[in-house]
Structure formats: structure tokens, C-alpha cells
Symmetry: C2
Subunit: 482 residues, 2 copies
Amino acid sequence: MTRYQYLATLLAQRIEQGLWKSGEKLPSVRQLSAEHGVSISTVQQAYQVLENLQLITPQARSGYFVAPCKAQPPVPAMSRPVQRPVDVTQWDEIMTLLESRKDKTVLALGSGSPDLSQTTLKPLWRELSRQVQHNPDTVLGYDDLAGKAELRQQITRLMVDSGTLVSADDIVITSGCQGALSAALLAVCKPGDIVAVESPSFYGTMQMLRGFGIKTIEIPTDSCLGISIEALELALEQWPIKGIILVPNCNNPLGFIMPDDRKRAVVSLAQRHDIVIFEDDIYGELANDYPRPRTVKSFDIDGRVLLCSSFSKTLAPGLRVGWIAPGRYLDRVLHAKYATAGTNVPATQLAVAAFIRDGHYTRHVRRMRRVYQQNMEAWTCWVRQDFPDGICVTRPAGGYMLWIELPEQVDMVCVSRCLAKLKIQVAPGSMFSASGKYRNCLRINCAQPLTETNREALRQIGNVVYEALEDANTLTPPKAPV
Amino acid sequence: MTRYQYLATLLAQRIEQGLWKSGEKLPSVRQLSAEHGVSISTVQQAYQVLENLQLITPQARSGYFVAPCKAQPPVPAMSRPVQRPVDVTQWDEIMTLLESRKDKTVLALGSGSPDLSQTTLKPLWRELSRQVQHNPDTVLGYDDLAGKAELRQQITRLMVDSGTLVSADDIVITSGCQGALSAALLAVCKPGDIVAVESPSFYGTMQMLRGFGIKTIEIPTDSCLGISIEALELALEQWPIKGIILVPNCNNPLGFIMPDDRKRAVVSLAQRHDIVIFEDDIYGELANDYPRPRTVKSFDIDGRVLLCSSFSKTLAPGLRVGWIAPGRYLDRVLHAKYATAGTNVPATQLAVAAFIRDGHYTRHVRRMRRVYQQNMEAWTCWVRQDFPDGICVTRPAGGYMLWIELPEQVDMVCVSRCLAKLKIQVAPGSMFSASGKYRNCLRINCAQPLTETNREALRQIGNVVYEALEDANTLTPPKAPV
């Protein structure tokens, strides 16, 4: 972190903590420069960051003031999904979301795309182009079933950071994390089986369960601590659950990082009930704090955790490079991969391997962690300004997703239809529930740069939400939020 | 076809027909030049081709003679598989085959790889590199679920040649033909269902059935005409079959092209029994004759044929670009694709689309049809010279696979283990049967150039087969071939 960023974070914290109240004048640039022993321009840059975040406002010839701002909204309470196995629905809504990808004029705030505009990504496509030109035989031929050895080697090196020690032979390259989870589920489950998930839970994974005819049971989940171990234990006692899908680090959509003691607890619960854990670590490298959090797999002693991940969020989804460390299910996962997808594209694998080997990956991910954290702070601040009272907002520990819970009367499925007409796409919360719960919630992708377009889009979302709330209130008396 | 190739084909036909007997002297270069009104060098080139094919031998100062050669072996008879639904086995053998891919010193005659050395392929990787450099946003971002529109457009144009008229909206891009078939099966079938296949049948497809818990029933298949309509009808009357997988054009492994009346018959049979047809057209563009044969889909009137194909055999497998025209199952196929593999790599799709658009595809495929046909003739000739009597060999109408049936005593699984030590990989026939039949058969990939290394490899295969046959004969009295 550079000096001005450090200073900006420090000042932002003081504002959050109420050291300076709303409307109060902030210390002058000169004062801060002397107090912190930094240059005038460093303080100016820090103030610029806070201004961009709309935490402070400049006033001509009198300095900076704390922006008028509502109080920080609370985080969503523990979720309360239906506590029995159900079939996954909601495909139509997801198709609508996917269809809107085709229209490039739509602002895709509902998608899972990372920011692809950073210069630290440039060596990747230079490398991709180089591989194609200098290595045509390998690039055009069939890949090994497990994927390119050089890439698997590099992945094992990266995994050390999360306390996960596996050899390259224990890794299988897949087409993104979707390919990894799909091979994992096919290797372990059969139709009619029951798999537990966090609630809310990523819609892509749930549609996969639907595709394979697997029933799902949604487990209450805390927006800061993750899945309720107690509720999971109760469900395990009550139902013949085959496995559990967890996104324990930088959860999608809630953004939490499960504390280590809970990760340990869930592993020992899995052992006691002899079930498997499907761990989705796709956002794990994008935790705000470094070193990155441990995986659940790092607590696994008997190979029952199938760790799935990909470079779709850290680098670029168009690479379709993911992987799985399937523990004791290696042979079955290889068969499942062969049976569903065959082999992968060698070119993108070789490019990623070289990108990691040459140190570009570490540099890029370090930058993205910072960028996404700043973005999320700014978007949270915007949400606070633009949305009605009575909302709850997550405080993500990483990744780039914000989950907003609106008053119960607001139907985000309807709101998102109105927004579609304005060429703004958001992900309504119901997609994140097997049975269409969370209709009053939405997930916003904060990966995109802090531009005036994005600022304006959020303002429009706020307006439509306000209208929906007013309409609902004229029809029905207001209720307390969920 | 150039002049000398035309002449070579004509002369080869006359030798095959017995116009000139084994050991007989052929007309002089001058005579042929006068007879056919072509230049001396054209005749010399034609004779060179025949010499390379080992159909003729030069003798110093006396001209060319018909090479001593065994009679053309017969084609394999109609297959006689087990006539009831079974679970697919044989995964271990396939893993052995796939594992040997890793060792680049192994001569992969058992693989399905096309010839990637032709210069007509060069514009493809130039285009791939160009896309990466000039189109990074599209290349790095998420693809549309159905795949790139420009590619789907080009594919509909190509499909007209096979009498198949579909719109770009009716096509879904997949990760190779494996991805297409996998989405098709998942969209239509559930575990426990029964699907009929030709016998022998491509092992990859059968392992997919195994992966999805689908039972398979192998239907007797003629090595020239394809699946027995009568046997299929009997099976449909006897078992609750959900669908049938066909490779009607340039079948893998038998090389036949199903006559049009049989294609029509199988479609009307499917209508009568209300089942679906999964058509695998991956080698269809590589038929010896032009225009290419029609697809079964071209006879489909009510959307029950799911046509699956890819560019893995015509261009390069490392692209992982396949597609499906799923007829009435479009929505379910889209969901199945989303659930198992997610989206595809945009870069290779855009490169292929440009390659077709600019006319390179037609040029390349035209060349490859000729190259593969010549290769197969040469390899057939080599097989005749190197293998024991009593074998049957297919006469493929396209593609680049040769299927050889050896005397019943030969166990190709054992032979292939011996060959593995010599760094030669072949595909034993048992992989092509759900229950491990065809142990006395093998499939050879003839896509590779007619080099001395390949010639020597086939000689070594012949030697090991001879040894295996002798060993078997000393242990048990010889039996008639199947």
C-alpha cells in the first residue's frame, strides 16, 4: 500500500468511528502533513481518494468537510431458509441475466466479471499470443486429461499461501470453477442425493445441482461468520445429506470469511457424519487482508474436501482455466471430467502458467485486492446515500460483491425488470435461493471502476427502489424488514 | 485433384482390379505419357505416389513392376454384440491410452488426433494470435452462454453442405464434440435410462454414458452400411430405449457412410418409437467424396435429432470448439451446458469464425480429405504386407481411422502392452465395446504423414501380432476368425 492510500484508509476509519462528525471541518493539508510526517502532495492525494469515495466534500477556500452521510447500515441478520430438501428452481431469472450479457450497452452490475482493464493484466495476453505463435503444436493438439503439468505445478505453489499442501499430481485442470464443481458433484453424487448449501448461495452452483437431479437443503448462514454449524449439524442428523458446498472465503454473495475455528468445526462435522465438502475458493485470493485466509481443505486430514477454484475472478473468465484438488476422489473426478467435458484448451493454460512463473500473477492480485477493497468502500458509501432507510448491507472481507437487503415490501425481480429497460442489470436475491427466497435482496458487482457512469447507475437503482417501496407502501402497510 | 494424383488413382485402381498381376511389368513412362496425353514428369510423379504406397517397385534399368502383394483382405462382417442393456466398463484401458499422451516420445497411433502439420492451418493460429492482441476485452471476458454469434453464423453456412438447415439461434457452441454430446445426454436422459449405440462404438461416448449412469445396448453394425435397422427395431420393441447415438458419416471406428435410405429409415424408426437420435458428425466433413454426405438431422422433421460436432478433427482439438444443433431440446441443452461446463473460451471461437469467413476452412478441409484418403490407402497397403493372413480390414469412406480384425486368438490388450514398451500406442478393440468385446481388433490412426517412422512402427505392430498369434497357436488349436 502506498503512503497516500495508507493515510486515506486511516482518515476514512476515523470518519467511520465518528472522530469527526458529519459536516465538521477536517484538519488542513498542512496540519496533516506535519502530523504524519508526509509530503503535502501525499495528503492531497489521500483527500482526493476520500473525496472520490464521497466521504468528504471540498469547499472553496475553506478546506475539506465530512460529507453529510447516513449512519452505516447494519449487516443482514442470519438467514432463515426453508429447512428441508428442495428442487432448485429460478432458471428463468438466470437465463434473463445471462441473455442480457449479449447486449454490450447494458451495464452488467449483476454479473460476476472482474475488472479486466488493469495494466497488470497485460503480460497475460502478451503471453497468450506468444504461446500461440511459438508453440503451435502443443496449442493445437489434445491436452493431457489432467491438464498441463507446468500449470498444475504453479498452482501448487500458489496454494501454499492458503495452507493447502498438495502435489501437482493431485490437481486436475478444469474449464473454470464451474467445470471443477461439476466434475466434483458428478464424481460423488447421484440423482436424488441431497447436498447442503449456504443460504444465500451462488446461483450457478445451485443450477448445477438441478442439472444433475440433486436436491438441495439451504442452511442458515451468518453474513459475517458463514454457515451456522449448529443448523448444519441439525440438518445432518435429520436428512441423509451426501455433502456440503461451501464458499468459505470471500463468500459469494455475502463476502464473509469463515473464521478458522469454524472451518475446523465443519471439517470435523463432515468426518463425524462421513460426508464430503465441496469447497469453492474462487474468490479466496481476493481477501482484503494479506496473507490470504486458509482453505477448509487445509484442515482436511482424510481427503474428503474437494477444493475447486479458478482464475476467472483473479485474472479473466475468458481463459476458462479452473482446477480441482479432489483428495480421495481423484480417479472418479478424472472420469467425470473425461465424461462431461473431455480435455481443455492448452493455450490459455500455458499462458497462465507463464504469467504466474514470471511473477505477474502476484503483482496483479496484490493490486486487485486493493482496488476491489476501495471500490467496495465507495459503492457502500454510494448505497448509503442513494437507498432508502431500513436496508442492511454486507461488509465484505474480500471479493467484489455487495449484498443488499431491502425492506421486505420491495420485490427486486420487478425492480430488475424496470432497471433492464434503463439498460442496468442487477442480480435479484431470489436467484441465490433454491426456492426463490430473498426477493427483497440484490447483489451488486463492485469490480467495475469508480466512474461517473457507475455512480449514476447506482443512483438510478436507488430511485427505482424508492419508487417500488412507495408503490408497495401505498398498497400495503409497511412491515419491519426481514 | 492434380493430374498426377488422378493418374496415380487410376493406375492404383487397375492394379487393385488385377489388370496387371503381381510381379508384372508396368507400361513405361513414355507409353503412359502418350496414352494419357500428360507430361513425362506427371507420369513420374504418379509412379512415385504408387511407389510410396508400395503398390509398385522400381527395378534399375527395367522400369516399374507391380509389387508382390497379398490379396485385399475382406471387410469385417456384421458385428454381433451382446443384445441386452449393460453398464459400460473398460475405463482402465482408456486411462492407459490417455496416460500415454503425456509421453511425447510415444507414437500415438491409438489417438484421434488429426494431422496438424499442414500449412493450410497456419492462418488459424495467426488469427488466434491476432484476436488475442486486438480484441482483449472480448477474449478475456465471459462468453455468451450459447457461444459467439459470429461463429454460430459461420457454422450454419457450413451445415448447408450436409443438407442441414438451421439458424444461428438454434446452435449452441460447446467444448468440443464431447461437450456437445454431454449436454445432449444430460438434457434428454436420466440415470438408469437405456441408450442404443453402434457396435463397435467410440469409447469416449460410451464412457460418457457410464459417467451419467446410463445403460447401453450395442446394436449389430455393418462395416460398410452402418447400424442394422432390423436389429435396432428388434431392440426398440424389446427394451425401453430412450435414444440412439449414431456416427453415420465416416464412422469412428468403422469408417462407413450410412446410405441415405438407411438414414431416412432410422429417423422414421425414431419417430415411430418416439425416441431421440444423438448424431455425432465429427468426421462428416472428411468424407473421401465431395459433396459431403447428408446428416441424419437433414431428414429430421420434428426436432428429435440432436446434431453434435466439432472442429477437433477438421482443424485442431486444442481449440475445444464444438457445437450442437439440439432441435426441440434447445432450452434443456442450454441449461445442461450451463450446469456442467459454463461458458467457453471466446478466443478460439473468434479465430475459427474468421478462419471460415476468410475461406481458409474450405481450402484446408479440401486438402485434408485428399491427404487422409491417400494416407488410408497407403496404411491399408502396409497392413496387408505386415499382418498375418486371415485378417479383415475396413475400407473407410472418409475420416482417418482403420479398423483391423485379427484372428480370434490374438489378444490386442496384451499386444498393446507389448507395443507400449516399444513406445507405440494403438487402440485395442475392446475399448470400443461396452463389455470388452473385440479384443482381437484394433483401431489405427492414419492421419499422420507417410513417414519411414510410421512405416517402421506398423512393421513392428505386425511383428508383435505375428508373435502373439504364434504363441496362441502353440497353446490352443487355431480357430476360424470371428
